[in-house]
């Protein structure tokens, strides 16, 4: 009789435990940005310029099923191949006063393995903050490496930057930033 009641108790409580287990949040997790290539593209009727930085730092913290990510890069680390242009870029973007570009976004932890990530980005740059909604990043996963690529459709107006000009012609407003990053969970 005792065995029967024990079996019945287990049978009744099993669905409860199963339900609780299904609602339990994913374990806390930390992500680290291992490699990065960020490239801005600047257009002018006489010049096409790409400036690249490999110096971005990034971290993600997952808690209660939500992951907050921060990517930061120093403005001065972007290299366009011309030191004078780079110094002018730093001046124009107020990089001496605001030396760090910060990008924050939040993702559901359950979505981190998706082939496509739809991100709402909050970008701090040149003393201003811009939001970019539904920026799509492609993701390929090899082992623990999450390789993410995409383009942030930034513009100089978004950050109240006076567009530099050459021969009185200003650069184009659009300055897309190509993103190529590899993240690893710790």
């Amino acid at each position: 009789m005792n065995k029967l009641s024990l079996f019945a108790t287990l049978l009744l409580t099993l669905p409860v435990f199963t339900l609780l287990n299904a609602q339990a949040p994913a374990p806390d997790q930390t992500w680290k940005l291992d490699q990065s290539t960020l490239t801005y593209h600047m257009s002018h009727p006489m010049h096409e310029v790409d400036g690249t930085s490999h110096a971005a730092l990034g971290k993600g913290v997952c808690h209660a099923g939500q992951c907050d990510f921060l990517v930061a890069v120093e403005v001065k680390t972007f290299d366009s191949g011309d030191s004078n242009r780079d110094l002018h870029m730093i001046q124009t973007t107020r990089g001496a006063q605001f030396p760090i570009v910060q990008v924050r976004f939040r993702l559901a932890q359950s979505s981190l393995n998706s082939p496509t990530l739809d991100c709402d980005l909050e970008v701090q740059f040149a003393g201003n903050t811009a939001h970019y909604s539904h920026v799509i990043f492609q993701q390929t996963i090899q082992g623990t490496a999450h390789h993410i690529t995409g383009v942030v459709p930034s513009t100089v107006k978004d950050f109240k930057i006076d567009p530099p000009s050459f021969l009185t012609i200003p650069i184009k407003n659009e300055i897309p930033v190509r993103v190529d990053m590899v993240w690893h969970p710790l």
Binding site: S83, N84, I90, A96, I100, F105, R106, G127, T155, D158
Partner: protein
């Protein structure tokens, strides 16, 4: 499968040390990007990683208004340098063209009009060159790293056109005096045209160096 990011509850990020609060309108929408808005953020993040979590120190993240002012001044002076440099092309080219009429024709040493015009244009070119150079020389230096790209060649060419801009008027004055005294141009003064041509060519090359590569796309 598309994973939707959730950013509505994102924590506010810290402002750089010197906030541009005066120039940021917290309610203004200024971008052509439909999803963009600018606002003042003055709250530190309540959760999520911080810059210090990335290993960045306060020295890395704090900006300097004084350094920004220095860079602004540098850019302002170099813009004037660029503008004056381009304008100086006009008297340099005019002096080169007027050089054709500068030598005495068929032993006529008394008609000095063409020569005087050449002298005036040459002097204007040298004075404007000096003004142009002064803005580059007086612009504050903000980096001690070696120059890379076109500006490196722009600087190398200084070693040709600066001595040329000094020598050309000296040799020109010597040639002028020799012609005025009824002599044929001789000696080192005969190098005036050659030095002037090399100077003008290197000056043009210096302009091209900082404009290259040019991709015309209208």
């Amino acid at each position: 499968m598309v994973a939707k990011a959730e950013s509505s509850a994102l924590p506010d990020a810290p402002l750089p040390a010197v906030a541009a609060s005066a120039e940021i309108d917290s309610t203004e929408t200024i971008s052509s990007s439909s999803s963009f808005h600018t606002y003042l953020q003055n709250q530190p993040p309540s959760n999520g990683p911080s810059l210090s979590d990335l290993g960045l120190t306060a020295a890395d993240t704090e900006g300097s208004a004084a350094r920004q002012a220095l860079m602004d001044r540098r850019t302002h002076m170099l813009k004037i340098h660029q503008r004056l440099g381009l304008i100086t092309v006009i008297p340099v080219a005019a002096a080169c063209i007027s050089a054709a009429g500068a030598p005495p024709e068929k032993g006529n040493y008394s008609d000095t009009t063409s020569r005087d015009i050449h002298v005036a244009l040459g002097a204007t070119a040298v004075l404007m060159y000096a003004a142009t150079a002064s803005y580059a020389i007086r612009a504050p230096r903000v980096s001690h790293e070696p120059a890379r790209g076109g500006v490196k060649w722009h600087k190398y060419l200084i070693y040709i056109h600066t001595p040329g801009m000094v020598l050309t008027p000296i040799l020109g004055a010597m040639a002028y005096n020799q012609i005025s005294s009824g002599q044929k141009v001789h000696g080192i003064a005969s190098a005036h045209a050659g030095v002037a041509a090399a100077t003008a060519a290197s000056y043009g090359a210096a302009i091209l160096a900082v404009s290259w590569p040019i991709h015309l796309k209208f």
